[in-house]
């Protein structure tokens, strides 16, 4: 199974002809992802190592049946590209681009919310990897193998760190989903955890949050009410000073809101165990997995 990206994924990459776009597209393709097309306005008719390039998403969808989009264009063009993908009927849009203006994200989020047939993951995210099936984005697939732990995270490298520790503890992954570090992520922890809950392959869920916003607190309540599978959490940013943006546009403690401590407390109050370090997360996961096997 896995969630969101898998063997049915037909990927179209916006910005495929850019340096980074080409590099990661081919990387994804080499992993086995079915990359069917790309979009670069004005370069329609060209190809990138055999992958056909179109001027518009509408052309790409019509001619290659793309159902998933990866957005790799610079920030000033990204919102438009996401809206175009949605308009063309793409059902899953994964936006890697970092630095999209917050008001663009707001507009995109609210517009996409009127279409129940589309999901946006990101922006400012590393993408989604379903080991053994498909990789869409920039997650280094070699660290991860197939398995039963679903990972959802606001941070890329932190995901790799935790994933690596899990791998060393003997765990593989159903899917690894980066939801991104921006103020208005297209998908929340709740959205992805709900997918993992419904995914038969996933037995354990790891979520890696960080300071800023209230997505972790909302997820905590959602988990308590709706999730039957065990969830282990990690929160980064306990020592972050208030009012400072810690790299991710969304990682900022505003006044007393969005602190790591508040998030940890909310999670624990709702029965979610929180690891103090990435290593501890892996240890807790191992412990729970052990008890699952005994049960």
């Amino acid at each position: 199974m896995a969630i969101l990206v898998n063997n049915d994924t037909k990927l179209c990459v916006s910005g495929i002809t850019g340096r980074e776009g080409t590099f990661h597209t081919l990387n994804n393709k080499n992993y086995g992802t079915n990359v069917v097309s790309g979009v670069t306005p004005g370069k329609g008719g060209q190809d990138v190592e055999g992958i056909p390039v179109f001027n518009t998403f509408h052309d790409a969808v019509e001619k290659t049946g793309a159902n998933t989009a990866m957005i790799f264009v610079p920030p000033r063009f990204a919102a438009d590209s996401i809206l175009e993908a949605e308009d063309a009927g793409i059902s899953l849009i994964i936006a890697i681009t970092e630095g999209i203006p917050a008001h663009d994200e707001l507009r995109v989020y609210n517009h996409l919310a009127t279409n129940p047939n589309v999901r946006l993951v990101g922006p400012n995210c590393p993408g989604i990897l379903s080991p053994g099936k498909a990789n869409v984005g920039i997650i280094p697939a070699s660290f991860f193998s197939e398995g039963n732990v679903g990972v959802v995270s606001r941070s890329g490298t932190l995901t790799y760190q935790i994933g690596n520790e899990l791998a060393q503890a003997g765990f593989g992954n159903s899917s690894i989903v980066g939801i991104g570090g921006d103020p208005v992520p297209g998908s929340s922890f709740i959205d992805i955890i709900a997918e993992f809950e419904a995914d038969p392959e996933t037995e354990l869920i790891v979520m890696a949050g960080e300071i800023g916003g209230s997505a972790e607190e909302e997820a905590a309540e959602f988990i308590n009410a709706n999730v039957t599978k065990p969830v282990v959490a990690y929160i980064a940013g306990f020592t972050a000073p208030p009012g400072k943006t810690m790299g991710h546009a969304g990682a900022i403690v505003s006044g007393s809101a969005g602190t790591a401590k508040a998030k940890q407390e909310a999670l624990e109050a709702n029965g979610v165990r929180v690891g103090r370090t990435p290593t501890e997360v892996a240890q807790i996961a191992a412990e729970i997995a052990g008890s699952l096997k005994t049960a």
Binding site: A102, H103, L106, N110, S155, L158, G237
Partner: protein, 379 residues
């Protein structure tokens, strides 16, 4: 990016939000000249990005030229909670009949702009919200529909503003929302929003935070960056395109990816240490970027040890190693370094470091181990 009060007011004025007239001044001479032009009484207001200016003596009414000079002299150069006053704003005095509060914030949780209005302006709004929650009316706006007249009326009636200012206040809120959207602000706050004795409304203060990511569309706003108020080291990092935050400790930190760096700060703290900075070298960092980052880290004299925590994805560990070697070559650091390289090309990276045999550079294989080591070395 935070604007100074007067920059915020000038931004408001561009969108038709009524503000008292005024002029900025960086010297006492300019201030007095501005006061003469505006007329007396006028107000001399310290321009620093911190609250509590009034209590700190940074806002004074001048009833004549003599007072304008005295106050400007006192305020320019004054230190308010660690912020030096480089600039004052000379403003026509207002005849205040009532003080309200209005703000629009980019509400991440609701994914909508949140407009707030209260008749209890002129004081700390977080206190009002806590002590008398009903006194702060909150209303979300669908950004695709925009701020409608009925939003304005509802805010005004529910906040209980004076009947005769429902309309002008509504017009002000409409323009404030326009400013919020057009200028791509994360926050616009007016406290106090005054009703004058002749029943006009105006923004007597302005707090504006703009979205850094949108500044490419607003070159005029981008040029408002208050470099004088910025930390020198943070300025140096920004100019080099590094994501950097200065902190209080003595352990210099370099990592890749915001989440991993935040996690590194936490783990260092757990090991009993304290980070001197947050520095995200970013995805796919090349050697030069690493070298440049080391320079920034070491420009802080508090730093007694440096931790590299790299988990390579797009970032290649061999590039990081090369950057570090280059930095040692150029800068010849005197503090110890602890380096943890994992992920893409980690073997090559570790080998490069081993071959280079840099003085006082320790490699560790885990994040926890590296944190413990650097804290030990930092002393």
């Amino acid at each position: 990016m935070d604007l100074l009060e007067y920059q915020g007011k000038q931004l408001f004025a561009r969108h038709g939000v009524p503000v008292p007239s005024g002029s900025p001044a960086t010297t006492v001479e300019e201030a007095v000249k501005a006061a003469d032009e505006i007329g007396y009484p006028c107000v001399v207001k310290a321009q620093v990005q911190i609250g509590g200016r009034g209590k700190a003596g940074g806002i004074k009414v001048a009833k004549d030229r003599q007072e304008a000079e005295t106050h400007s002299k006192a305020i320019l150069g004054m230190d308010i909670k660690g912020h030096t006053v480089h600039e004052v704003w000379i403003e026509a005095a207002s005849d205040i009949a009532a003080e309200y509060y209005a703000s629009i914030v980019f509400d991440r949780s609701a994914k909508r702009p949140l407009v707030m209005l209260s008749t209890q302006g002129g004081m700390d709004i977080e206190e009002v919200a806590e002590n008398d929650p009903d006194a702060l009316v909150r209303l979300h706006v669908d950004p695709l529909l925009g701020f409608q007249d009925f939003h304005a009326r509802r805010l005004a009636f529910e906040a209980g503003v004076d009947a005769d200012v429902v309309r002008p206040l509504g017009a002000l809120l409409t323009k404030l929302y326009d400013a919020f959207i057009k200028e791509e602000a994360m926050l616009v706050e007016v406290n106090p929003l005054i009703v004058t004795a002749d029943r006009q409304v105006a923004a007597l203060d302005a707090k504006v935070t703009l979205d850094d990511n949108s500044l490419f569309r607003h070159p005029d706003n981008a040029s408002l960056r208050n470099v004088a108020a910025e930390d020198e080291q943070e300025q140096m990092a920004r100019e080099r395109g590094l994501t950097f935050v200065k902190l209080d400790g003595n352990v210099g930190i370099l990592g890749n990816g915001a989440g991993l760096v935040m996690s590194t700060l936490d783990v260092v703290a757990q090991a009993g240490g304290s980070a001197a900075n947050f520095l995200d070298a970013g995805g796919g960092s090349k050697a030069e970027a690493i070298t440049s980052a080391v320079e920034v880290i070491l420009s802080n004299p508090n730093v007694t040890a440096v931790l590299f925590n790299i988990f390579g994805g797009i970032t290649r560990c061999d590039e990081v190693a090369r950057g570090l070697i280059e930095a040692f070559d150029q800068i010849k650091p005197t503090v110890p370094f602890v380096v943890r390289l994992d992920g893409t090309n980690d073997v090559e990276g570790r080998k490069l470091l081993a071959d280079a045999n840099l003085p006082n550079v320790h490699t560790e294989s885990t994040m926890l181990g590296a944190a413990k080591k650097v804290v030990e070395l930092a002393g």
